[in-house]
Symmetry: C2
Subunit: 471 residues, 2 copies
């Protein structure tokens, strides 16, 4: 389309818009005929067709084959507006997700679980998108292979080899996200009424997800070296759980890392009780150096490793993965076809593979680790000034699990935070035993704006329980 | 990076590759230091860093922060190859999907459920991809809104208004695919042991999906005007089903369309038995003119409408949708966050919205309908010459549900077809009652290559049961 034609087409579009706005054309009415309106406007019929097509693509008019164009049914402007997140909803494991995902642009989100846009490898992703525009048609329109794009699975196989995990491309299944990877595994291994162990505290969405599976969730207290092994052994004996879901490296929310000795004893206990483990190492790329991997120690016998690229590459390009025993993967492929007709978009896999293969990606990770290290130090100091104390100093990552000042309730503070424009992540959304009311998870990457601390201080003042009596 | 630097970098990359291939550098060994190798190669240290980064992005070497680059663990070439689809697997409702998705490039796929690449709106999609490359960083890296991109939901609201379905953007939830839309609804409404009605025959994946939900599946015979209402009423009385899953327009596999009177009586029966209906109108855009919609008649009271863009726009850009009562959508959003941490990629929604808004999209649909009409006529004629007779002449779409010649078993023919390079869709994968052994679903858009009919004739000859005695 030339600019001139665009100008003429634009004039026809504007003329019809005026008729619609002014009521000269009402819903259901037929638009002027193409030849007639072309004569009226002094343009060619093809210009009118072009204009009508644009208006049809916007949904304002509709074509009826063989009969011309008609004004579409009226849609109230209210029907087209976005819903506000519901502030009054219960503070449950879905609370942080829903408040974070639907937060308006003015909200500050120290409670959310991802990095700010400007911390992501935007240049490399944009190069991958430009590469996509030059790729073959099949990638843009066809379903992909049932296990997902081979190029990305090959990349993962090489990466796993570097971590000491020996797997073939056959043993890797791409999924639409890390969460969906765990969901598929749950559908494969769990039946309603089964028991699943999680860390206490653990990533809140493990609980939300496991509730959908109608299983009993048992929490094992988490220590700075991993799960409390005495409690873990007791839980195995008492509850005979089918599955344990955990993060080994940079545990969410605590930022702790599984110690080698704990990892070994955990696997010995798991073998003795025929326990399967899902190791969600979604934060692995943020570690300064690799820590022990259950999947590597175990050789993918009873450990299933999952992950995604949401934390270091892009959360918008939805793509996760599962690596597991070949027979389990075969069953998971069937499950994924039945429930999603395949895995992530082949386009998503291509964008991820393209970004990972960009020479800049390693530098991005290096820079990210350094930036996070500074941000942890800075946020830790500012939080201490407010009387908020980190539980440990994590080796990497962006979460700080913090104890609030005596008498400060995290849920009350989170509610007060919303009123001050803050999305916070109160402790008990992470805690199966609901024993973390005095804790809060902070995302240091979302706390470089000083307004976070001002709003937090106001929220703390606003959420204080008034003293029982004031003489 | 300038071309010259690329050439120098390339030389360093090649030199290291040779060392790796020749065994001069073994897995775990440290690579030459950057300064040292720069001197050896007569290039700058930054050129060596660039080369090492490229090799690291390929997974051949790994950086250890502060300690240099090391050769990555060896990965056997066999570990990087793709699995062949398993030919010997049982012909069940997953058979066609798995064979179609993983078919090699030389296979012909008259049994698959999608259009060939060259029938899709490739130009418009490519324009949308180029638009994506110019968009803001947030779209490329951040999670999207919990219900999915508002722009696409607004488009859908206008389209629904045109179909007589009155819904607001709040009532629309984007999902990763049409299949996943039904899966979410199943998780919301169904409990193990519930009964679900489907058409007999019905889209095979409805069965595969419902089996995952551990529900009892009851089939109701499908007539050229919709479900057999006497059998439907009897099934309601006998089984008290919770849900009915169907396609109203261009039913899969038969290509039939629900008649207005059948639609009305169906809804009356549903109301009397408190039945919820999922209306999967995934083929709606292929209709020559719109047929009755249960969702429009019912006003989204007990009907949930789902769909996707896989059949007319792209199957690679994974995106489906649900439109339903506001309270149900709110629950489905929670379920989708818990099980996938959100819906389709915001990038997918942007590509879909961009393509739909392209003025060429309506013309694409018009051309597609004309092309399909010709292809149905042509394939119908050629199939008849082989003794294969369409059950009805569909008004639109790409499926022909055909009766095979007397004594020809569809499953045996499908197995013989694989040996001849054909993926076929044998009748019983669509039939809950397993009464369609004499039927086959053909996709006319995948049958323009005359080799399809040659291979089909050979497969028919090869799958014939030998006569009991030959004098």
């Amino acid at each position: 389309m030339t600019d001139e034609a665009g100008g003429r087409t634009g004039a026809v579009v504007t003329a019809i818009r005026r008729k619609l706005a002014g009521g000269a054309l009402m819903p259901g009415e037929r638009l002027p005929s193409i030849r007639g309106f072309a004569a009226t406007m002094g343009v060619s019929p093809s210009t009118v067709v072009e204009a009508y097509d644009r208006l049809a693509a916007e949904g304002l008019i509709r074509a009826r084959p063989g009969s011309g164009f008609y004004v579409a049914g009226a849609v109230s402007p209210l029907a087209l507006t976005e819903a506000e997140p519901r502030r009054e909803r219960a503070i449950d494991p879905l609370w942080v997700s829903r408040q974070s995902l639907d937060a308006g642009p003015d909200m500050l989100k120290p409670g959310c679980g991802w990095l700010p846009v400007e911390w992501m490898p935007n240049g490399a992703i944009r190069r991958a998108v430009r590469g996509l525009a030059r790729t073959g048609d099949a990638l843009l329109t066809e379903y992909g292979a049932a296990r997902g794009a081979l190029s990305l699975r090959r990349h993962l196989v090489r990466r796993f080899a570097g971590e000491g995990i020996d797997a073939s491309a056959d043993q890797v299944l791409l999924a639409a996200s890390g969460t969906q990877a765990i969901d598929l595994i749950g559908r494969f291994l769990l039946r309603p009424g089964d028991t699943v162990l999680v860390d206490d505290p653990c990533y809140f969405n493990f609980q939300a997800l496991l509730r959908v599976h109608a299983v009993r969730i048992v929490g094992v207290p988490y220590t700075p070296a991993g799960p409390d092994l005495t409690a873990f052994a007791a839980a195995l004996a008492e509850h005979r759980p089918r599955l344990y879901v955990t993060n080994s490296a940079l545990h969410n929310p605590t930022g702790a890392t599984l110690a080698p000795g704990t990892a070994h004893r955990l696997l010995t206990l798991a073998a003795a009780h025929d326990l399967t483990i899902v190791e969600d190492d979604i934060f692995a790329d943020l570690e300064p150096e690799p820590s022990p991997r259950l999947a590597a120690l175990d050789g993918l016998n009873r450990v299933i490793r999952i992950g995604s690229f949401s934390k270091t590459l892009s959360a918008s390009i939805r793509c996760g993965f599962i690596v597991a025993r070949p027979d389990w993967i075969e069953a998971l492929v069937d499950l994924q076809v039945a429930t999603s007709f395949g895995g992530p978009s082949p386009i998503a896999a291509e964008l991820i593979a393209g970004t990972l293969a960009d020479g800049s990606y390693r530098k991005h990770l290096d820079a990210l680790r350094r930036r996070l290290s500074r941000a942890r130090r800075e946020a830790g100091g500012r939080l201490k000034a407010l009387g908020i104390a980190p539980w440990i100093e994590p080796r990497g990552g962006f979460t700080l699990w913090c104890r609030l000042p005596e008498g400060c309730d995290a849920a009350a503070l989170a509610r007060a935070g919303l009123r001050e424009g803050l999305v916070l992540a109160p402790g008990n959304v992470f805690s199966v035993s609901q024993t973390a009311a005095g804790f809060m998870r902070f995302n240091v990457a979302q706390m470089t704006d000083p307004r976070v601390y001002e709003a937090l201080a106001r929220a703390m003042a606003g959420s204080e329980t008034p003293p029982a009596s004031s003489p």
